[in-house]
């Protein structure tokens, strides 16, 4: 039977493995640590992927009692940004990010402030209400309403969100659903509500040659997978799969502007281990999932407006070397040639820290490391692959290195 608290089997790059097996493959060689943003910030074992794996192993073997060391385990968990750089360098390709999620589930750790958590959960349960609340919130922000609200109990996270968002949130971009679509566009939360220019770029990119169905305000299960419970994540994925089947007989490419969503959907089959029919369908969905960079023309319209040199930060959830990331690098390399600066494999990048994936103070420290990378390379533009990364890095660059600006890859086309 399906376990609603944990994934029974992880789909690792080296095949399916039970959680304990997967954790035991950590040979403690330590190759992962120097690449981890948390370790780079404070080189301690509790901030290293090796430490996280050994902690989980201790819990699974009963050597560490979660009740006795809950606070320390939470501290260890909240240092992980789930970026997956450790997996890329690990000789055994151990999916530490997945292990961290499992440890979170073991502790039933609610890492987000309650109100924020409830609000974001609404996107899956009551999307219209969610949309209404977000739009109302943004409208209030324009009227300086947040300046009072953020000091109310439970609303402290609004302070960080306020800093994160552009000074003036652009008006939402209206996208229309086209009949007999050949493509599906799944805008990310950030692109739809906070950075509509990304959604606009992606939409225009797709509608140039294709008929597009836009799945606005659609939860794909990522939020529940990372913060909530697995059953809700599965439910939302099932809804997505069913909708995909109904639209174009489950054959249409599903395009997303967020590399995080792309990685989640390509890993979706592991959520349906034990349900072969749904797993088959999830595999089909994963095969149909595309990242927006695939559709960039050879000569994107806004190319000349991008200040050189250009740096790509491929940071994303769960994976650091997916085909989408490699292709994005390839595209930029061919577009900017000598003006494209490779980000060293060890250089700190913007972390996919949401408003509360990790503690605010830590997120700032990690992103400051990314700013140092930008400053070291002396680039003018940093291309990122998700709206969340654009928001996070945008804030840090505004604060510490305003000469560089951040640009989502879809915006290369204007």
């Amino acid at each position: 039977m399906k376990n609603n608290q944990h994934l029974d089997t992880l789909h690792t790059p080296l095949g399916k493995r039970g959680l304990y097996d997967s954790v035991c493959f950590c040979n403690r060689c330590g190759m992962c640590a120097p690449l981890c943003p948390a370790y780079q910030n404070a080189p301690q074992e509790s901030n290293s992927p090796r430490g996280r794996n050994q902690a989980l192993r201790g819990v699974l073997e009963g050597k560490l009692k979660p009740r006795q060391v809950r606070a320390e385990l939470l501290e260890l968990l909240t240092s992980c940004t789930l970026c997956g750089r450790c997996q890329a360098v690990c000789p055994g390709q151990i999916p530490t990010a997945q292990h961290v999620l499992e440890l979170r589930r073991t502790l039933q750790a609610r890492l987000l402030p309650t109100l924020l958590f409830k609000l974001l959960r609404l996107r899956g349960t009551a999307p219209r209400l969610f949309s209404y609340l977000v739009h109302t919130g943004l409208w209030m922000r324009r009227l300086q309403g947040w300046s009072v609200l953020m000091y109310l109990p439970g609303f402290a996270w609004l302070k960080h969100l306020n800093k994160l968002l552009p000074a003036r949130t652009p008006r939402p971009f209206k996208m229309s659903n086209q009949t007999r679509p050949t493509f599906i566009y799944l805008p990310s939360l950030e692109a739809q509500f906070f950075l509509p220019d990304i959604a606009q770029s992606a939409y225009q990119l797709l509608t140039k040659k294709h008929r597009v169905a836009v799945w606005e305000n659609t939860a794909c299960g990522l939020f529940e997978f990372v913060y909530g419970d697995l059953s809700r994540a599965r439910r939302q994925l099932r809804a997505l799969i069913t909708r995909h089947q109904k639209t174009g007989k489950a054959k249409l490419p599903l395009v997303t502007d967020s590399i995080d969503v792309y990685h989640f959907l390509t890993q979706a089959p592991q959520l349906f281990e034990g349900y072969p029919t749904w797993q088959q369908k999830a595999q089909n969905l994963a095969a149909c999932t595309r990242y927006i960079a695939d559709y960039l023309p050879k000569k994107p319209a806004a190319l000349k407006t991008i200040s050189n040199p250009v740096l790509l930060m491929t940071s994303a959830l769960f994976n650091n070397q997916s085909s989408a990331q490699e292709k994005s690098a390839q595209i930029l390399r061919s577009l900017f040639k000598k003006n494209f600066v490779e980000c060293g494999y060890k250089e700190p990048q913007v972390v996919p820290a949401g408003y509360g994936f990790i503690k605010g103070s830590r997120a700032n420290a990690y992103n400051l490391q990314a700013v140092r990378t930008v400053a070291r390379q002396q680039v003018q533009t940093v291309v990122v692959l998700s709206g969340l990364a654009a928001l996070e890095l945008g804030l840090s660059l505004r604060q510490f290195y305003p000469t560089a600006r951040v640009c989502h890859i879809a915006k290369l086309n204007g």
Partner: protein, 654 residues
Amino acid sequence: MKLSPHAIKELSSLLGADHVRTDALSLSLYSYDCSLSATRPDGVLLLDKAAQVAPVLRLLHHYKIPFVPRAGATNHAGSCCALKGGVILNLTALNNILEINTQAGFAVVEPGVITADLQAALAPLGYFYAPDPASAQACTIGGNLAQNASGARCLKYGGTLDHVLSAQVVLPDGTQTTLSRQTPGPDFVGLFAGSEGTLGVITQLTVQILPLATHIQTFLVTFPSLSESIQAVSALVARGVIPRCIEAMDKTTLQAVEGFAHAGYPTQAEALLILELDGTPAQTKKDAAVLTQVCLQFHAQHFTSAKTDEERAQLWRGRRSAYAAMARLSPNVMVGDGTVPRDQLPTALARVQKILKDYPLQASLLFHAGDGNFHPHILFDQRNKLQTRSAAHVLHEILKTCVSCGGTISGEHGIGVEKRAVMATQYEEDTLSLFQKIKRTLDPQNLSNPLKIVPQNFKEKAKPALALPPEISALQTQLLAWQQAKTPFIIAGSNTHLKTKHPAVLCTQTLNQIIEIDTANYTVTAQAGVTLSALHTALKKAGVYTILPEDKGTLGGLFCGGTLPPFYSHVLGVEALLPDGSYVRYGGKLMKNAAGYPLTRLFAGSQGTLGLVTQLTFKVFARKQPTVKPHPFHKAEITDFWALFTRALGGGLV
């Protein structure tokens, strides 16, 4: 033992409360390294600055709390486990590169600097740091010195031992001291190489940096048998070509690696070598021609040469992913480490392969063919007790094989706790006693990484001592007689430079045998009293060369007099008669040895204060070497640090 509340309070006031961890999770996370050993400490101290080390150690000394210095914790020998409890000193935050001076050719770094980070900082300046352990991306420079790590480039450039110019260390009682190769007397920097944190904490290192080679050429060659591949390496060295790397793998490894990395390696070959030459274009071209000729002579089957960076990367791809290829197959990979004289490599490998076949464990064999160092990778699952026991047993068998082939149980991984017991099969009681004395001299309270390196109850288990040659026996009798009569005596070579008129002088004039000129390993073993002129005549006759000058005096006098420091790194083995009459044997025809404290460095430049060096084994070359001019001899002033050893070993009579 648990840390007392007073100790915790004082440590917290020194470091900050959040830098003193005693929670169960922290203790668990600092209990392991890359080996099988795991022991929970009683506390973890997170150090931020090198200046914190001395006061912390003083405090620990006051409370008699054992401590274990720990940086990357990537070692394979259990060196970072707190066997006696106490605290772990986490040094990873001491990761600043303090200075790079290309003009004088050195870099000053803190011990937590990751080796690859230093390389990355040096590369844009056109320099590099020669030691390149396979774990360079994760291990630290401090850890490299503590383990005497070396890596693939050791044959040509030497190990960490040869590239650290000075080190700031804090002794277990909290005394800060700077050890430098510029200071006359024994090479105490060298003594800390391979000390595994048992003698104190390294807080700063000055390392030698070298200009990047302008021209590098890589070759991939396969052979019909392992022995032919090793014969080819020996022949290459005999022709005077010293490649900067000679990496090798057997057929099993080759197939595993190719199956994983798809590097284009020919999988039917019995042995594969990756050789890399560096130097000026003319020199490389000349060496490449010799290499081609030698490989053909030994029936090379497949021969690929790479000149561009891309081509070289392609050839290295398989070798670099060898560990990963194995790590994916099983939860645990035990990486063994043993070194034998190069000519013994085929015998040792055949025996190792037989041992591996006798156990139901999957394993592969990688080796640095140039220096006789091999690394069996044994796959097992730690959760399976039988498999784990078998893996440990296999490793012990392999190490014993190394010893029986005249080798050492560690070329570059250290001893730690996992190989501690096997030390007794390699060394005699007197040598192990000397290791213990060295440890007790600097750490009388046994606080610094206790219970490592020297085996417990070694007196019963140590290898039986070989009978001494009559001339050495005579010297021993004389020495013991003086000791008994409490007659102060002087240890000298042939008294060429010392010119002492002391009535009791123990000298090496009777030790005048050149024992072996080995043209397979390119080593010479000679007694200390052999005169330099006699040595040169014999070497000339054998057609080999050394950096030793044609000078007056004896080999031992030159080595112990401290007049020729560049020679220290050429000395691979030493035998010495200690002032208490015991006789120690260390090293031999081994290009790498990380088992025990490097005694060659303790006696180098010791000017007879620590014992009488009776025999040396040193490197020679097939091509003429520029001879080094010795400094004029003068009696060195004994520093406080040196005096600790003279008191401990000399017993006041020397």
